[in-house]
Subunit: 83 residues, 2 copies
């Protein structure tokens, strides 16, 4: 299953509770699109959020985020991963 990283901007000063609530809105509806949001990280100083997900396509990831109320134009497919 392809992996994706999406990047959101403008989340300056967002709290852990607010990020968790946003992430849970994704988790509640992701199954309909065959997507799973694995993890999300927040830098509240710059307002950046990074979400790591797996799913069938970039468009499916975007649809979940749109329905959950936080669309983004920045979604990257990650065919290569190293540890």
């Amino acid at each position: 299953m392809p992996k994706f990283m999406d990047v959101h901007s403008g989340f300056v000063g967002v709290t852990e509770e607010q990020l968790r609530a946003a992430h849970e809105r994704d988790l509640a509806i992701e199954e309909a699109e065959g997507v799973h949001f694995e993890r999300a990280w927040l830098d509240p100083e710059s307002g950046k959020v990074f979400c790591l997900s797996s799913g069938p396509s970039k468009e499916a990831v975007l649809r979940v985020h749109e329905k959950a109320g936080h669309p983004t134009t920045e979604i990257y497919e990650l065919p290569v991963e190293v540890e």
Copy 2:
């Protein structure tokens, strides 16, 4: 230990082998800065690389990347993570 995400641009068409070689240059020298690069993901189409690390500071992460030959101005500290 704080976590960080750094973002690199311009890696269009880079292969898994090339990403692995770059990542291994970080791993070889990270200890001197108390940093650990946990994972790196590549989108060879857009040329974006995302690196997840832990370490004492953004500056320490940058110093490792600089010495390894791939500095970036985009390093975000991630005090909040949700699953």
